[in-house]
């Protein structure tokens, strides 16, 4: 499809922006100004609408396709949550108004949403306090480990590393590193959880903490969590809970109860806010009482008279991790979602997410001739190794799905499973959709045996076939000219 720049022609009028004029009293001298206007497209409003409408139709999305992308929780994003967050009374507020004396009173609604959401998340996770400022999961991790660092500094602890299992998401080690820590990686045992013995060996006085994802990216819940927490607390280490998979346990288990000290949640996963093609999301972080002093500022507080204020005066805070209060628009969506779920809804939702995953794991086991390793949580991982005998890889299976109107699951992650295929159906899919998915998988595996070439060629139903990524990296055509 043509680029919007290729549709541009000199003088084609866009949206009428010129409004009632006010003549300037003085012109800015040339030397401060650009010599040429930026070469933006010149297209009619109608053409822009057609262009981006057409582009949208080239996407797979939750609203159009089953999207069982493991670890990404592609659940339905309720339209009402969009409508709630898009109320002009919310979107029109300038973030600096609370800093104008008396201005805070003009934003009580937005502050109330922040305050209430913090309380709801604290209760859901069993943690004392929450900050909503992190703008993604990774950002939440960074915020968490920075609080870890602040805690140890404050206590005079000499810590130099963080322990992370090899099944962890790449953002964990990357975040730990930005907080100034070495990363010690622990392999997974045959059950897919962090090898307990090797963990014990790695753990020592210099261990700042451990970052665990539970259920982890294999969809397995580590049953020895309490032991791990105790051991880490022994050396005054802190337990970090990567809550990207909180949707598997919400309403049933609380990270705080299990002994975790810090936890981030992905609102754009567990709390049904849209992924937007790669964000914006939100990665709020909760902490236990003892870490409260290190939370980023500002803090939203409720005064006796019921009004909400912002507190910037926290001597031990790690400081400003966001310009303001986080991705408010995303937080508002999650708030609407949590209000809709309520207490029972939380448990009901995780129950159904886990049931859907187990049903698929069961039905697909024969196809992947995987032995039974017990129940999974909200997602599960199989290996596509068996495809090699047909000269195929997991990627070929994935591309075949695209031609059958299903977005492929996550592939080649986690890295500790060869030819991994990671499937997360979510609770917003009904039984018919799951059955259809099983049929498609069966059809594809059959095709792999009988006519593998077909899968090599897939996808054929998309505007483009498999794209040459090597060429992309070599040519580096990163903008239109």
């Amino acid at each position: 499809m043509k680029l919007i720049y290729e549709k541009s022609s000199p003088g084609r009028p866009g949206v009428q922006m010129s409004s009632i004029r006010i003549s300037p009293t003085e012109e800015v001298p040339e030397k401060y100004l650009r010599s040429q206007p930026a070469e933006l497209p010149e297209v009619s409003e109608a053409e822009v609408v057609r262009h981006f409408t057409a582009l949208s139709r080239l996407n797979f999305s939750v609203d159009t396709h089953f999207y069982p992308l493991g670890s990404c929780t592609m659940k339905y994003n309720p339209k009402a949550c969009e409508a709630a967050a898009n109320m002009p009374e919310l979107t029109g507020v300038h973030p600096l108004w609370p800093q104008l004396r008396g201005g805070g009173l003009l934003t009580q609604g937005s502050l109330a949403i922040l305050y209430n959401t913090e309380r709801l998340l604290s209760e859901a996770t069993g943690l004392a306090e929450f900050t909503l400022q992190p703008m993604s999961g990774a950002h939440g991790e960074l915020t968490g480990v920075m609080m870890m660092a602040a805690y140890h500094k404050d206590r005079g602890n000499e810590k130099d590393h963080i322990i992370i299992p090899d099944s962890a998401h790449g953002t964990n080690p990357a975040s730990a590193q930005i907080a100034g820590y070495e990363v010690v990686t622990i392999p997974s045992d045959e059950n897919g959880v962090m090898d307990f013995e090797q963990f014990k060996e790695a753990l020592n006085e210099k261990t700042a903490g451990v970052m665990l994802t539970s259920p982890n990216t294999l969809g397995v819940f580590n049953p020895r969590i309490k032991e791990i927490c105790d051991a880490v607390h022994e050396v005054d280490g802190l337990m970090y809970y990567d809550g990207a998979n909180f949707n598997a346990i919400m309403g049933r288990y609380k990270p705080g109860d299990m002994g975790f000290d810090i936890c981030h949640l992905n609102l754009h996963k567990s709390f049904a806010t849209p992924h937007g093609g790669g964000g914006p999301g939100a990665g709020p972080v909760g902490v236990v009482e003892k870490l409260r002093p290190y939370l980023p500022i500002s803090r939203v507080e409720k005064t006796k008279d019921g009004t909400y204020t912002l507190n910037y005066d926290e001597p031990k805070t790690i400081g400003y991790i966001a310009p303001f209060y986080g991705n408010f628009g995303i937080i508002a969506r999650a708030y609407a979602y949590i209000l809709s779920l309520g207490c029972d809804g939380m448990l009901g939702t995780s129950n159904r997410a886990v049931l859907n995953a187990n049903y698929l794991q069961e039905k697909l086991r024969p196809l992947f001739d995987a032995e039974y390793k017990g129940r999974c949580m909200h997602e599960f991982v199989y290996s596509g190794d068996f495809l090699k005998q047909y000269g195929l890889h997991t990627l070929d299976l994935a591309k075949g799905m695209i031609d059958r109107g299903i977005h492929p699951p996550t592939v080649y992650f986690p890295l500790n499973v060869s030819e991994a295929i990671m499937i997360e159906p979510t609770e917003t899919e009904d039984l018919d959709t799951l059955e259809r998915f099983v049929e498609v998988m069966e059809e594809l595996v059959e095709l792999a045996k009988t006519d593998p070439e077909k899968l090599h060629e897939a996808p054929v139903s998309t505007p483009v076939g498999r794209l040459d990524e090597v060429k992309a990296a070599r040519d580096m055509r990163l903008s239109y000219s």
Binding site: P13, F52, P95, L120, M135, G251, L355, D430
Partner: protein
């Protein structure tokens, strides 16, 4: 009967699935997990129907007063957003998609990102841009880390004209890293202090961070200073306000190596602080050090043009702790809104908006500085925002006007000692002549009071 909202299976469906799994209820799914971990319940209210939820949120939202006439900018601006931006970015195919890991099923997101990267290059006068970062502040931090990686040095000089909110973020992010962070006070004229840089620039400096127009709204010509920065083999990082780039000289033309900024003004509502849009552009030779996703053009076997995420070897999902950044989810939908916005207003409309903002500011500047006691704080060169020094503390004056429904600007004293009387005012195409006149009048009487 109580239902679990948004969940799709019927009890009938669930019965079938239970049977397949040979279990009797949900709890059996969790049998392997020690019982003592089970929580006693979540003490939050019962779920609300959609109608009740909407009514609740509407009631809470109504506690905001959005009819404030706003002259408060300070890096975040109240620009008009054409209706088509919402109409298009709210299409489910865009906002319910994930990161485009499967390019054949994501050409919509990918092509739009490529068009966005192109627009950022054209606005900034740079060669390459990434697909977005969270906001202007995190983008600036990422820019510094990128520059220090590139120069293998650990000292960064940050101009005090850089948005103080961003400087606090930089202080926060660098606290655990071996980064030597130093701030350079501004000159009397309110711009980068040439002599101070003369003194501070040496071979230990890896990066210098400037902002144009700076926090006070002052415009500067930075070419010579950037040459000086290059003489010591440091990189020049410039933080910019994209709407200003409609008229103001580009960082590229001034020689900047890395450009970052807040893209909120390009089609994002103020939304009480987010989601916003961090952008970053640089020179081609530095692209492998650039953080964040990058979309590149390529072909399929039949030679059909297509777009993919490229140079991923920089990223955390491959490099883990050795990645250029920990960023994963970015703000793709905001980038989409930005390219839709820029396509709608187009080349001419963008110039047009720029002029309207600048003209309004110019008009207000001269009205305000005619009030006796009100002085220009710095030089007279600005785009749509400027600072004036009042005869009394700005906070009081502003709160007096807030009570009259006007956010008359931002008192900079909060971030700059000794500037308690300085008020920073911003003007967008949304502000009318009448609104400006009223604001000036009320401000004058507030000063008398």
């Amino acid at each position: 009967m109580k239902k679990t909202p948004f969940c799709a299976t019927s009890e009938q469906d669930q019965a079938v699935m239970f049977q397949t799994l040979g279990i009797a209820d949900f709890d059996e799914l969790f049998a392997a997990i020690p019982d003592e971990l089970r929580c006693s319940g979540v003490d939050i209210p019962e779920g609300l129907s959609e109608m009740d939820m909407m009514q609740h949120v509407r009631k809470v939202a109504s506690k905001n007063s959005t009819d404030l006439v706003n002259f408060c900018g300070a890096g975040f601006y109240d620009h008009y957003i054409p209706a088509a931006v919402d109409a298009l970015s709210s299409r489910g195919e865009f906002y319910t998609a994930y990161t485009p890991y499967q390019p054949e099923a994501s050409q919509g997101t990918l092509q739009a990102a490529f068009e966005y990267q192109t627009a950022i290059c054209r606005l900034t006068g740079m060669e390459v841009a990434n697909a977005s970062l969270f906001d202007g502040g995190t983008a600036l931090f990422e820019g510094i880390m990128m520059a220090l990686r590139q120069t293998k040095r650990n000292k960064v000089l940050v101009d005090e004209g850089v948005n103080p909110i961003y400087r606090r973020m930089l202080q926060c992010y660098t606290q655990n890293l071996s980064v030597d962070y130093e701030e350079i006070p501004i000159s009397k004229g309110g711009v980068a202090d040439r002599s101070a840089y003369e003194a501070a620039l040496d071979n230990s400096v890896g990066a210098v961070v400037l902002q144009n127009p700076n926090f006070f709204g002052c415009l500067d010509t930075l070419t010579e200073l950037i040459d000086k920065i290059h003489e010591v083999k440091a990189l020049a990082i410039m933080s910019v306000y994209p709407m200003a780039l409609s008229l103001v000289e580009t960082p590229g033309a001034m020689g900047a190596d890395i450009v970052t900024g807040e893209g909120q003004s390009l089609g994002q509502p103020l939304n009480f602080g987010g989601p916003y849009l961090g952008f970053m552009a640089t020179k081609k030779k530095y692209v492998r050090k650039m953080p964040g996703r990058i979309v590149g053009e390529t072909e399929d076997k039949q030679g059909r043009r297509g777009y993919v995420l490229t140079l991923q070897a920089r990223e955390q999902h491959i490099r883990r702790e050795k990645a250029t950044s920990n960023i994963c989810s970015n703000v793709q939908l905001c980038a989409l809104r930005a390219i839709i916005y820029l396509s709608l207003v187009g080349r001419e409309g963008f110039l047009d908006v720029g002029h309207q903002c600048m003209d309004r500011a110019s008009y207000a500047y001269h009205k305000l500085t005619q009030i006796d006691g009100v002085e220009p704080a710095f030089n007279r060169r600005f785009f749509n925002e400027f600072s004036v020094r009042l005869p009394k503390e700005a906070t009081g004056v502003v709160s007096a006007l807030v009570d009259q429904g006007i956010a008359a600007g931002f008192p900079v004293g909060r971030y700059y000692k000794g500037m308690e009387n300085v008020l920073l005012l911003a003007f967008t195409e949304k502000r009318t002549k009448e609104e400006i006149d009223i604001m000036v009048a009320k401000l004058e009487s507030a000063l008398k009071a």
